[in-house]
């Protein structure tokens, strides 16, 4: 009798499947990234001051990523609800912790790609001049922030999947809870890019905050996801 996969194998299976689906459907590349990019352009219209834009750039980047999270998280569970797959996963006895870790990982990868594109867009659109030493802070903070966003997005998107009114419920639930990520990520990018006169070393406490938030979100998510998707 074949043995069912453990949590890690399940997570890997589901992450691979989600990423393969994204690769085929290209929803993030063809729809979400353009939306995010155009949002960055719209910020320029709203703010209309090149100097201010340069200072605001880190915040604008992460605001855009946060809004894109809502779209990506909805999408991650839309593929499940489209044909009743989430329910089928439950009946099949797939470990909810594995599902959570797999889907959160896939979502984090997509968000990281999106964040990378947004940082590049900001560098170009808002005419920034970053110091060389900030890359490590930039990358580490982005990894921690996207993991935290992905974990929270996955729990709540799973909770809201299949509930009518989820399109409006998800933003209300997610946005206040990810506010620490927004605070930390913005300050870390500020330090990394040197905007507002901050030094690169100032970024590390914020990276620490982001790491704690990421771990806490992952742990809480793993513990509660099974209850969240049960019907």
């Amino acid at each position: 009798m074949s043995t069912p996969p453990g949590v890690v194998a399940t997570a890997r299976m589901i992450a691979a499947r989600d990423l393969r689906i994204e690769w085929r459907a290209r929803v993030v590349t063809n729809q979400v990234i353009p939306f995010a990019a155009v949002t960055m352009v719209l910020f320029a219209f709203a703010v209309d001051d090149t100097g201010a834009l340069g200072r605001l750039a880190p915040g604008l980047v992460w605001l855009t990523v946060m809004f894109s999270l809502l779209l990506c998280a909805q999408r991650a569970f839309a593929i499940e609800s489209a044909d009743g797959a989430l329910e089928a996963l439950r009946v099949a006895g797939v470990d909810p912790v594995g599902i959570f870790l797999g889907k959160a990982t896939a979502l984090a990868v997509q968000l990281f790609a999106l964040a990378a594109v947004m940082v590049l867009a900001a560098l170009i659109l808002y005419d920034l001049d970053p110091p060389a030493g900030g890359v490590v802070v930039l990358v580490t903070s982005a990894i921690c922030a996207t993991c935290a966003l992905a974990a929270t997005g996955t729990i709540y998107a799973g909770l809201a999947a299949g509930v009518s009114g989820r399109e409006t419920l998800l933003p209300l639930l997610v946005v206040p809870v990810v506010s620490p990520v927004l605070i930390g990520a913005t300050r870390a990018v500020e330090a990394a890019l040197g905007t507002g006169g901050t030094a690169v070393a100032d970024g590390w406490p914020w990276v620490g905050l982001l790491a704690v938030v990421a771990v806490a979100s992952a742990v809480v998510g793993a513990l509660t996801f099974g209850s969240a998707i049960r019907d």
Binding site: L169, V177, P180, I183
Partner: protein, 251 residues
């Protein structure tokens, strides 16, 4: 405590005792807060808003901790403890009310003392974020589904929300510490508060806690009565369904 009763009211001897104690403590608080305690050197009588503002924020946190404990209990018991779930919901509702009181009193305090309604200080910002978080919790409680489904879904939100409280605190505090200007509205409880003011605050916390317990008891009992009504209408619906077609014997 929260078992449904067949009487028409949700009051029992326990709630009457607590209610009277709450009224007495509130009277005491009013006396001390408005008359007996001294006015602040800098702010004058405006400091008296503190006796409403600070206890209400403490009670809001207490309410959310109660919700969190009940939520964990509901998750562990897989949603089959309706009494605990009702306490979680009632506590969150009262907590949201206390948060609203905190925000409004904080805004009034700032307006009276310094002429601005909002100052982005750590406590008010954190309170505002948590206020919205728990509005989200109440929204999830109101979703469609069986009582067990609603209990479980709101329990998940309750647990995530409470885990977020320290993180929001920490991040907002760090954020405000970057801006070194003296906080205009110092709503922190610092040690150089006069002894009598401290005592009045203590009275305020007790009074508010009694009100909290009173409200939660009544609210949870109302929810229990609503569940009883649902149960009765289910019996009726079953009877109606049975009358649709008489169930034949099995062969």
């Amino acid at each position: 405590m929260t078992t449904p009763t067949t009487s028409r009211s949700t009051g029992t001897r326990a709630t009457r005792v607590i209610g009277i104690a709450a009224i007495v403590m509130s009277a005491w608080l009013s006396l001390f807060g408005l008359v007996l305690s001294p006015a602040d050197v800098a702010q004058g009588d405006a400091v008296r808003i503190m006796y409403v503002h600070v206890p209400s924020v403490w009670l809001a946190y207490l309410a959310f901790i109660v919700t969190a404990i009940c939520s964990v209990w509901v998750l562990v018991a897989r949603g089959r403890v309706p009494g605990v779930d009702r306490v979680a919901g009632a506590s969150a509702e009262i907590g949201v009310v206390f948060m609203a009181v905190t925000l409004v009193s904080g805004m009034l305090w700032g307006r009276i003392t310094w002429g601005v309604y909002w100052q982005w200080d750590a406590r008010l910002t954190t309170t505002a974020l948590l206020f919205i978080t728990y509005i989200g919790y109440l929204a999830v409680r109101g979703l469609e589904g069986s009582p067990e489904q609603r209990a479980r879904r709101s329990a998940v939100v309750g647990v995530v929300a409470v885990a977020e409280i320290p993180l929001v605190h920490w991040s907002v505090r760090l954020w405000r510490s970057l801006h070194q200007e003296a906080t205009v509205l110092d709503t922190d409880l610092d040690v150089d508060i006069d002894g009598l003011m401290l005592f009045t605050l203590f009275v305020g916390v007790i009074a508010f806690t009694l009100w909290f317990v009173w409200f939660v008891l009544h609210r949870a009992r109302v929810m229990a009565l609503a569940a009883l009504v649902e149960e009765r209408s289910l019996d009726q619906a079953l009877a109606e369904r049975a009358a649709e077609v008489p169930a034949g014997g099995q062969n």
